[in-house]
């Protein structure tokens, strides 16, 4: 049984078919990458898994069970964490507070004992804090614990967002363009982290990424999409050399203009 199965999913916005009969499955313990030109439907697939959109057709299964009957906020509880393409951090909060929101799935306290801050809540807070500290160590965020997001540079925000997703302790991590806007060195860090997330933490990763160096360095399998349709599925090497993929990215030699 695959961890995540996308089964013949179609999504339409009016007349536009954003995702057209896409089927793939992500196996446990692998790094799976979605690539494709802008507007190919990669982020839309993420939003479908996050239950922000409802597919017109098809089914999405996680650990064998459909997730289409779940509300968006129940997805994290299943063990699916995600980051956002344009960084959606809590700006007016510190890095610690941001990471602690990631622990929401593990909250056992209720409103009443939190308002009274009973010893139980304190014990819970300590354990959340300890879990956060592991993420901070893993991502080298020690220097930023008490810094407000609003004052942090872009690269650090990107890392904090990844940390917040890891704080959920997910089974499946969705990374939406983890390297966009990062320098070469920062992209290398991301590559190492994705490797470690897979090997040390045993977390399955599904990522959308444009940087083909990163994709071929870390991913086990790649799915290329264009205009909402599946083009090619295989190892990074196979996909990169698939004539259909090359055509979608660069265009063919017969003079037809295609977006690069």
């Amino acid at each position: 049984m695959s961890l995540l199965e996308i089964d013949n999913v179609t999504l339409r916005f009016g007349g536009v078919v954003a995702v057209n009969k896409v089927s793939f499955s992500v196996e446990e313990g692998e790094v799976f990458a979605l690539v494709g030109p802008n507007g190919a439907g990669k982020s839309t697939i993420f939003n479908l898994i996050s239950r922000i959109y409802n597919p017109a057709e098809g089914d999405i299964r996680f650990e064998g069970r459909t997730i289409l009957d779940k509300a968006p906020h129940e997805i994290a509880r299943l063990g699916i964490a995600r980051t956002f393409q344009n960084i959606e951090l809590f700006e007016q909060a510190t890095v610690l507070q941001n990471l602690l929101v990631g622990r929401h799935r593990h909250r056992h306290s209720r409103m009443w004992n939190e308002l009274l801050f009973t010893p139980f809540v304190r014990r819970e807070e300590r354990s959340h804090r300890e879990a956060i500290e592991k993420v901070i160590d893993f991502l080298d965020l020690q220097a930023y614990r008490d810094k407000y997001i609003a004052g942090l540079p872009y690269g650090v925000r990107k890392v904090v967002e990844m940390g917040r997703a890891l704080a959920i302790e997910p089974k499946l991590l969705l990374l939406d363009e983890p390297a966009s806007g990062l320098s070469v060195e920062e992209t290398q860090d991301v590559a190492f982290w994705v490797e470690d997330i897979k090997k040390q933490m045993g977390v399955t990763v599904l990522m959308v990424e444009h940087d083909m160096h990163l994709v071929s360095a870390v991913s086990d399998r790649v799915l290329a999409l264009a205009d909402g349709k599946m083009l090619s599925l295989g190892t990074p090497h196979e996909v990169q050399n698939d004539p259909k993929v090359i055509e979608a990215y660069i265009g063919t030699s017969d003079g037809r203009e295609e977006a690069a």
């Binding site: 994290a76 959606e88 951090l89 929101v101 929401h104 409103m111 300590r126 917040r164 959920i168």
Partner: protein
């Protein structure tokens, strides 16, 4: 500048960041406790009024500052708390010590129920929706005259706890201490909220609903809870307003009060408990300040009484505009900058608090 050397996770969980901070608040509390020694009973009355406003401001702050939801309808919850408290005491004969928390609970439940259809609204639409509630409650009080005595209003009985009576005129110091104790309890509850998962999920909704949802926060329910807690605390403030004023009717809680409450927390500084107190001080003391200023002008000019209608509203508006233009973070924000200046002296830089440019952020999910 103080560097806090943290040796355990409790350093981030505790109420106070370090011993010196605790010391400052103990000092502030002792000043508050000692005030009746220095102030006349009029002055104590003003301070009591300030504390009541601070409770109401904290109520609204939980919603606006913490959760980022606008509300122009909080006078409604002041009214619900006030009427519930007095009616429970006069009609059902409950003692204050039961009626008061129950009034808060009733206002809180009302807030949560009203919030349910409103949680889908954002920004200006939410403001309009809540404004409608304030207007509705105003009319409802008039319509429900058999219960509320309509425009004639109701008398609030003296607060009596175990035979000990608290009255604004008979026992101003007692009333001051009682309300100070209630204020402290509300502050403690607010602090607990800020440092617990619920408070963090409020902040998460304020800053990004879409990612709060992705973290497993049930956005609609959490907003309703925020409305509920906020309305509950505001209701407590309303109950105290009733007792402090002695007599009240629908006009006591009109829309202008809602707006004043919102302006108070903006002027005080959004998102902080300090801001609620600073804002309450402005709202509670401004009328007296204007009166004193007018007396002074009269004395200097030697003329008769200069009464300018609408001066209070005009001054209030001017202060608000000045703050929005020059110090959007309110009085607390300014205080924070001054404090940082001295802490870091001489290394304070001018644009230390300048906001970073926000990166591209779409509102695609709205």
């Amino acid at each position: 500048m103080r560097t806090v050397f943290k040796t355990s996770y409790d350093a981030d969980i505790n109420l106070f960041r370090h011993g010196a901070q605790l010391g400052w608040y103990v000092l502030l509390l002792s000043v508050a406790l000692a005030l009746p020694l220095f102030l006349s009973s009029f002055g104590i009355g003003e301070m009591t009024n300030l504390l009541i406003w601070a409770i109401a401001c904290m109520g609204l702050m939980i919603l606006v500052g913490q959760t980022g939801q606008a509300s122009l309808g909080h006078a409604a919850f002041l009214a619900i708390g006030c009427y519930a408290n007095v009616l429970l005491q006069t009609k059902l004969g409950l003692p204050f010590i039961l009626a008061f928390p129950l009034a808060g609970l009733i206002a809180g439940v009302a807030g949560a129920l009203i919030a349910m259809p409103m949680t889908k609204l954002h920004g200006i639409y939410l403001a309009i929706g809540t404004l409608a509630i304030a207007i509705l409650i105003d009319d409802f009080i008039v319509i429900a005259a058999p219960l509320t005595n309509g425009v004639m209003g109701l008398f609030a009985p003296d607060i009596a706890i175990f035979g000990y009576s608290f009255n604004r005129y008979g026992n101003p110091v007692g009333l001051y201490y009682l309300i100070l104790a209630i204020t402290l309890l509300v502050v403690l509850m607010y602090r607990n909220l800020q440092r617990s998962p619920l408070g963090r999920s409020f902040a998460a909704i304020r800053d990004s609903e879409i990612s709060a949802q992705a973290m497993g926060v049930n956005v609609a329910r959490t907003k309703a809870v925020a409305f509920g807690i906020s309305a509950g605390v505001t209701g407590l403030g309303g109950a105290l307003i009733g007792h402090f004023a002695g007599i009240f009717n629908n006009e006591t809680f009109n829309v202008i009060i809602s707006i004043q409450l919102l302006l108070a927390i903006v002027i005080g500084g959004l998102g902080t408990i300090h801001g609620a107190f600073f804002g309450a001080a402005v709202v509670a003391l401004l009328p007296q300040g204007i009166a004193m200023g007018r007396d002074l002008v009269n004395k200097v000019l030697g003329g008769g009484s200069v009464a300018i209608p609408g001066l209070e509203a005009a001054l209030f508006g001017a202060i608000l505009i000045a703050f929005i233009l020059f110090e959007p973070r309110g009085i607390y924000g300014r205080w924070f900058k001054i404090r940082t200046y001295f802490e870091l002296f001489p290394f304070y830089r001018k644009d230390m608090f300048r906001r970073q440019k926000a990166y591209l952020k779409t509102e695609r999910m709205r």
